[in-house]
């Protein structure tokens, strides 16, 4: 986190440096630096403009570890470019400085200077302030492998905190920077002191800015990488820097002349935006999206999580995102929800589905307590499977029960059932209870049984005989039994006209042909 803050500060500083002056004073600084690293740093930082410091930092970067330097430089240049600054001076500074500082092999230098340019660019133009910050950065820059007398590792964090504090409150930062700068300026030997002092100050300040640093963390990953300092990290920083560059551009499109406060405000606002953008992709599960990408998305479309959520929420991917259907339903977007046509249609679809699921809940037994589509679907699947199995089983049973009976007989029996059922006038709506046991046929029809058995032999006769009572019962013996098909059709018609009540025990009939069978208790007969 400290690294990120450092980076941020550096960036601000860089901008300011560029804007303020590109005097050639940096050359002087370069010359001084040649004497001793520390001295040159200190003096240069104190005496020269921000760009000088920049140059120094760059020089240091260059001199220390060619590849890493280059990486850092490249990265810095990159960030600079993004920031909209002319980084030519920076490069120049680097070029010059490299010739001067050759003995420095500290690894920390790249880190510090790397941080510095970026932060510097973003800070408003208080040259002294920036000098101090730069110095601090140089002091504090560097990863753990720094062996320099600066006591780098701590100072790096220090710098980070300082950057943080700078972000937070300008005045406080100023004072802080002054303090640390003064300390540094007085004696470079007092690095530990400086470090400690800065540390203490930082601790005070850091509390305020922790949150902001978190906000900045994402956007300033680059700086963090830079602060890491190693060659590996620089590579990483490069890539992340590229990621961040569009972000930087988007966030810091303003001229560097603006004051720190305004920049801060914009940055904070944008960071908040970024945070939200970061949050929403996480919500919607867009893991692959980079920060910049997600941010841009967020900036494009007001909608926010609901859009992404709706996009991802479809039960079956993009199957759902149909354009509005044939019937045009005017849907109003609810507050805080996406107004995208796709998401609207999807929302309508989803509501439709949930409505149907409610129906299913009523239909499928044992689903009333279940919430959630997945479990409900499971239950529905089980139920449909069981129903299908029941059909199969029943058909099998029917096949076994009447293995020798003609289908006609079965049909006739069914007819009879219908006729019996017609006896009850009440019409029961759906769903009739499946579990309701079919009331056993009351007094069985002995007459029918013997007649049924020999049906194989002489189906027509049997049919006639079996039908006769029914016919007589139903129609008062109107039809000629021989005209079976016609009767059959007529019966069917009758059946259709009848209501289809719940199973009722059929009346008992005997072969005598008595028109009226015994009425089961409680049942009344109605005419067709």
């Amino acid at each position: 986190m400290g690294d990120r803050e450092n980076f941020d500060v550096d960036r601000d500083r860089d901008r300011v440096n560029y804007s303020t002056s590109m005097a050639s004073d940096w050359r002087f600084g370069v010359g001084n630096v040649a004497n001793s690293m520390v001295d040159s740093y200190v003096t240069n930082f104190w005496d020269h403009s921000n760009s000088q410091n920049l140059g120094f930092c760059d020089i240091n970067i260059q001199n220390n570890g060619g590849s890493s330097n280059m990486n850092v430089v490249g990265k810095d240049g990159f960030s600079y470019g993004r920031g909209g600054h002319d980084h030519r001076t920076l490069e120049m500074g680097w070029n010059h400085a490299s010739s001067l500082l050759k003995g420095d092999n500290n690894a920390f230098l790249p880190n510090g200077p790397a941080m510095l340019p970026q932060s510097l660019s973003q800070f408003p133009g208080d040259s002294g302030f920036i000098e101090r910050a730069a110095r601090l950065s140089c002091f504090g820059a560097g990863s753990g492998d720094m062996v320099s007398s600066f006591g780098i590792p701590q100072s790096m964090n220090l710098y980070a905190r300082i950057g943080e504090t700078m972000q937070g409150t300008g005045d406080a930062l100023l004072g802080h920077g002054l303090r640390s700068g003064a300390l540094g300026g007085q004696s470079h030997k007092s690095d530990p002191n400086l470090v400690e002092a800065a540390k203490d100050d930082d601790k005070e300040m850091s509390l305020q800015d922790d949150k902001r640093s978190e906000n900045l963390a994402v956007s300033h990953e680059e700086g963090k990488q830079a602060l890491g300092g190693s060659a590996n990290e620089s590579d990483r920083a490069e890539s992340s820097g590229q990621d961040d560059s569009p972000m930087l551009e988007s966030t810091s499109g303003e001229p560097s002349n603006k004051g720190l406060s305004s920049k801060k405000r914009k940055r904070i606002g944008q960071d908040a935006d970024k945070d939200k953008a970061n949050g929403s992709p996480e919500q919607s599960g867009a893991d692959a999206k980079e920060n910049s990408g997600s941010r841009q998305q967020k900036e494009e479309g007001k909608p926010t999580p609901s859009t992404k959520g709706s996009g991802k929420n479809a039960k079956q991917g993009s199957q759902a995102s149909d354009p509005p259907k044939e019937e045009y339903i005017h849907v109003r977007a609810r507050r805080g929800q996406a107004t995208n046509s796709h998401s609207l249609a999807e929302r309508v679809r989803r509501e439709k589905i949930s409505e149907r699921m409610k129906f299913l809940q009523d239909l499928v037994p044992g689903c009333s307590k279940v919430t959630g589509k997945a479990v409900m679907l499971d239950e529905i699947i089980n139920y449909v499977q069981s129903l299908q199995r029941q059909v199969e089983f029943l058909s099998m049973k029917l096949a076994t029960v009447n293995p020798r009976m003609d289908f006609n007989i079965e049909g006739l029996l069914a007819k009879e059932i219908l006729q019996q059922r017609a006896g009850t006038c009440s019409a029961h709506g759906f769903p009739p209870e499946l579990s309701m046991a079919f009331p056993p046929l009351h007094p069985p029809r002995p007459g029918l049984v013997p007649s049924a058995l020999p049906s194989m032999a002489n189906s027509s006769d049997i049919l006639r005989r079996t039908l006769q009572p029914n016919l007589a019962y139903l129609n008062g013996g109107f039809k000629d039994p021989n005209q079976l098909p016609e009767v059959w059709d007529d019966e069917l018609h009758n059946v259709v006209q009848m209501t289809f009540p719940t199973p009722a025990p059929p009346s008992c009939q005997d072969l005598d042909g008595s028109g009226s069978g015994s009425v089961p208790s409680g049942q009344t007969k109605t005419e067709p």
């Binding site: 991917g317 699947i381 059909v391 049973k397 079919f438 259709v496």
Partner: protein
């Protein structure tokens, strides 16, 4: 939805079923047990399907399937050509609406989605002609199918009981 017409639907189903059975009986006198069972079931299914509107997909698909598969028992029921055409039209219409599923990275939401996809796929397999249905349509058809199945089962069970009682009066 179908509450009011429950009884009439069952009547219609039974009527059609009987008609189908009659047709089978006309065609073949002696059938094996399995054949009988198949015939019974098929005629029941077809009857059930025919009670539904043409707009209901699963019923049309069921009929089309039965016709195209040339199910069992030498049934020369509905002219196969028309059924096949119906089936093609049905499939074509539904296929046009199917969208491809996007690929996504793994996350909680994606996992949930995958679970849902698994289940909907299962449901689609259960439902006749359900493979080419979308979400909303699928739920509707499932609803209808469940109702029809229940009707069918009830009628069949009552017929079974009746016939059982006739055979075994004790």
């Amino acid at each position: 939805m179908r509450n009011q017409e429950g009884s009439s639907v069952k009547e219609e189903f039974l009527r059609k079923w009987i008609r189908g059975l009659r047709r089978y009986s006309c065609e073949k006198k002696n059938m094996s047990f399995l054949e009988r069972k198949k015939a019974i079931k098929l005629s029941a299914d077809l009857a059930m399907a025919s009670t539904r509107d043409k707009t209901i997909r699963w019923s049309q698909a069921l009929i089309a399937n039965a016709a195209s598969e040339n199910v069992c028992i030498g049934s020369s029921s509905a002219p196969k050509k028309s059924s096949r055409k119906k089936k093609m039209m049905l499939m074509r219409r539904s296929r046009a609406r199917v969208k491809s599923v996007k690929k996504e990275m793994s996350s909680a939401r994606c996992i949930a989605k995958r679970l849902m996809e698994k289940r909907t796929r299962k449901l689609k397999n259960l439902l006749p002609g359900g493979e080419s249905m979308e979400d909303g349509c699928l739920v509707e058809e499932t609803l209808d199918y469940i109702q029809s199945l229940r009707d069918q089962i009830e009628v069949m069970r009552s017929l079974l009981t009746a016939s059982q009682l006739i055979i075994n009066p004790s």
